[in-house]
Amino acid sequence: MFHICLLMFSPQNYPLYIRSVPCQNELKFHYTVHTSLDVVEEKVSAVGKSLADQRELYLGLLYPTEDYKVYGYVTNSKVKFVIVVDSSNTSLRDNEIRSMFRKLHNSFTDVMCNPFYNPGDPIQSKAFNGIVSGMMVQTVCVF
């Protein structure tokens, strides 16, 4: 059974969006992700030059725990995406993670474009949910 969890954090590090598939032991994911936030911060602060390059947005594998691999991605407005996947998903390649982040970023931009969305609100957009679900299911089902 493969788990995958996606969290999004605002620039102030409070969660904007939390989603995990398939099972709902989110608490464990939350813990992992919160610890990973430290790593994210570290990486973000380490990047000195202008964040014009998308590669820098993708933080890559933040750190592997015994069970999970945590990937990070930060947007230009310091919104952080964190994806936690099972370590058993060995076939989940970096490219795929990147593409996932890209899609997330796309969807997130759409959400932001919505004038009714106030930055910092939890994301309730159905379209966004749909995309995330599709992505996660696809990822889980592939393997």
Partner: protein, 676 residues
């Protein structure tokens, strides 16, 4: 299929109300025979006998309706026959002409099907109310009456929860005239609801009806028995009705389009331009829909995902809002008929199979032809061909009292085409969907996309004044600098200087600039007048209080304004007030007076200022008005910006409060632990 052609030809001769349609189709289902397209003559005969008309009339009916000629009862003949029966029962002669009028439904005694009986019983009661009211009442019904519909439909066992909350909020008055027969959607879903539920709800509904919406609900309630009773052919229509019911409320009629266009123009005069997100947000927030719903509507309607609404997108959004206010639950994705361009996003709510689309098209054609042939505008307005196209008709009829048949016809053709093409569409839709999505992904993620998005959202309310780079009189003066500070009235004022007596423009900035330019060219002459500036300066200082809006421009601006007025009026006097970049708006209006005074006191009293004291005052007044209007506009803009800022800050404040509360609670929890 025989049935459809028969129905088409038959329906072309007569116009049926939706009520009648349902009833007749139910009856037809009763008499459905072995051969497709033919109704079992024995059952038809039985029905005719049940009508309790004398046999001669029955024969006449058979003859008139054409069944005798054909040898069998096709759908059309059957319908005509039913109509004739109704006519005969009401005492009218059995002739084709009599079917043109509004007739109550034919009554059949001793029918096997109870619901038919009940249905037959109910409609006559409501018919007199409904039939004549029919189209006329649609608009009345539309006007804010859907709360009533809501109340009625609440009683029905709805598979999905109709949104109660939007019903609670009073629809905006401009929106209320738009009717979305809520029950259209209900039809499709309620199709499976057992009779009892419907009938009971219908009986509940009946006493409630005191207007056409109630009647309409009743009709639709009555329709359900017919629908549920349907044969396989009818049942095919039901999933189709699902799609159609989604179709109809989502189609924008011409009337609505006009309204949307007007609203768009109010927000943004140029129809080809975009309404920016913040503007649209403010506008749609007025509809008092909850923000998540508005957010969802935005998501649906902003097809190109650019954070702004084109005219089409605006119409979509507006339409969705109207639908929502009238009680329709928001779709998960954009309904097919509402999509801006062909093949945009797949309609999730179309569980259609190609087979189910077939009968839809058929009925539609029937509707098409029927509505095209019908002459009577009332009957056109109440024309409801069959289950499927009925709903679109209703919507269109209700909004087209003038009976624009052609438009009805053409609009009905559209769903046929759309539905017919639907089976092929989902794939191209899906193909296009990622395409459109990827296309819109041209925005650069590497750069500050989100920040830009936020900034762009915030910028529109107060666009900074744009410097007018091109200046026909650009001379030695730093007009760019002047224009940057001046802005709005520049263009308007620019036209003014040439006349000898310059009409005072609202901002009267350009004359200022012009004056400046003239000044530059005539700097030598200005010497004697140069001293006047001191007077102007004082006057300008005195006038500063007036320009509440442009405080930052006061000193220089007023001076400059005065000098510009001076120039404008005289066209001789040039005061080299080059350093005065700011252009005043308010101080201008008083300038002529000090000007005239100063001019008098100054060097050669120019004739001009005194020339039109009367004209001056008039122009001053107009300019004052313009200035005031501009000031009002600017105030409004700043208000809007501040309001938005306020709301954002409020939300941030809320978040912070919540955090604080959670932290405090955690602290409370930890305190006893710490103490132990």
């Amino acid at each position: 299929m025989d049935q459809e052609s028969a129905a088409a030809s038959g329906a072309s001769l007569i116009s049926l109300t939706e009520h009648e349609q349902r009833y007749y189709s139910g009856l037809r289902a009763l008499c459905q025979a072995d051969a497709p397209g033919k109704l079992s003559s024995s059952k038809v005969a039985e029905l005719f006998k049940a009508s309790q008309l004398p046999p001669e009339s029955l024969h006449k009916v058979t003859e008139v309706c054409g069944a005798k000629h054909l040898g069998y009862f096709g759908t059309a003949q059957f319908y005509i026959a039913l109509k004739l029966l109704a006519a005969a029962q009401s005492g009218l002669p059995v002739r084709l002409e009599s079917v043109a009028g509004n007739l109550p439904l034919p009554r059949f005694a001793g029918l096997k099907n109870e619901p038919e009986m009940r249905y037959a019983a109910a409609p006559p009661a409501s018919d007199p109310q409904g039939a004549p009211v029919g189209s006329v009442a649609w608009n009345a019904a539309d006007r804010g009456s859907f709360r009533h519909l809501e109340a009625n439909t609440d009683k029905k066992p709805e598979p999905w929860s109709p949104p109660r909350s939007p019903c609670g909020s009073p629809p905006r008055s401009p929106l209320t005239y738009r009717s979305y027969p809520y029950s259209k959607q209900r039809n499709g879903v309620d199709a499976q609801i057992p009779y009892d539920g419907k009938l009971s709800s219908r009986s509940i509904v009946q006493p409630e009806q005191h207007s056409s919406p109630g009647h309409y609900v009743n009709k639709l309630a009555a329709e359900h028995p017919a629908v549920a009773q349907a044969s396989s052919a009818e049942r095919l229509n039901q999933p189709a009705t699902l799609s159609y019911s989604d179709d109809d409320p989502w189609r924008i009629t011409a009337e609505q389009l006009d309204y949307y266009t007007n609203q768009f123009k109010i927000l943004q005069p140029d129809l080809g331009a975009l309404i920016l997100g913040a503007v649209a947000k403010n506008f749609f927030t007025k509809s008092k829909l909850p923000i998540p719903e508005l957010s969802h509507i935005w998501e649906l309607s902003d097809v190109d995902r650019d954070g702004a609404l084109t005219f089409t997108e605006f119409c979509i959004a507006f339409h969705l809002i109207v639908a929502r206010k009238n009680g329709y639950p928001l779709p998960e994705s954009l309904p097919l008929t509402l999509q801006p361009a062909p093949a945009q996003h797949p309609e999730e709510r179309f569980p259609d199979t190609p087979e189910s689309s077939e009968p839809l098209i058929v009925f539609e054609d029937a509707a098409l032809r029927s509505c095209q042939v019908v002459k009577d505008p009332n009957s056109v307005a109440r024309l409801d061909p069959t289950l499927a196209s009925r709903k679109q008709d209703l919507q269109e009829e209700s909004l087209n009292q003038d009976g624009s048949v052609t438009r009805l016809g053409s609009s009905r053709e559209k769903p046929a085409l759309q539905l017919g093409a639907f089976p092929e569409k989902p794939e191209p839709h899906q193909d296009l969907d990622p395409q459109t999505r990827t296309k819109t992904r041209q925005r650069s993620y590497s750069s500050t996309s989100i920040d830009d998005a936020i900034k762009k959202a915030e910028e529109p309310p107060t666009p900074p004044p744009r410097p007018q780079k091109t200046h026909s009189r650009a001379s030695s003066l730093d007009l760019n600098k002047l224009f940057q500070q001046g802005a709005p009235g520049v263009k308007s004022g620019w036209l003014l200087p040439p006349p000898a007596l310059p009409p005072r423009p609202s901002a009267s900035q350009v004359p200022h600039f012009l004056k400046v330019s003239e000044q530059a060219s005539q700097s030598k002459v200005q010497q004697p007048n140069f001293a006047d500036f001191s007077h102007f300066r004082e006057e300008g200082g005195g006038l500063q209080e007036e320009s509440g809006v442009k405080r930052e421009e006061q000193g220089l601006a007023s001076r400059f304004g005065l000098s510009s007025e001076d120039l404008g009026s005289t066209s001789q006097q040039d005061v080299s007030c080059t350093p005065h970049g700011q252009v005043p708006q308010k101080p201008i209006r008083r300038k002529y007076h000090p000007e005239s005074q100063s001019l008098e006191t100054g060097a050669p009293p120019p004739p001009m200022p005194f020339l039109p004291p009367a004209k001056t005052s008039q122009k001053l007044l107009s300019r004052q008005k313009r200035e005031i209007q501009m000031a009002i506009r600017k105030n409004r803009e700043t208000n809007a910006v501040l309001r938005r800022l306020n709301s954002e800050l409020q939300q941030q404040l809320k978040v912070v409060h919540q955090e604080r509360v959670t932290l405090e609670s955690q602290l409370e929890l930890l305190r006893p632990l710490a103490s132990t």
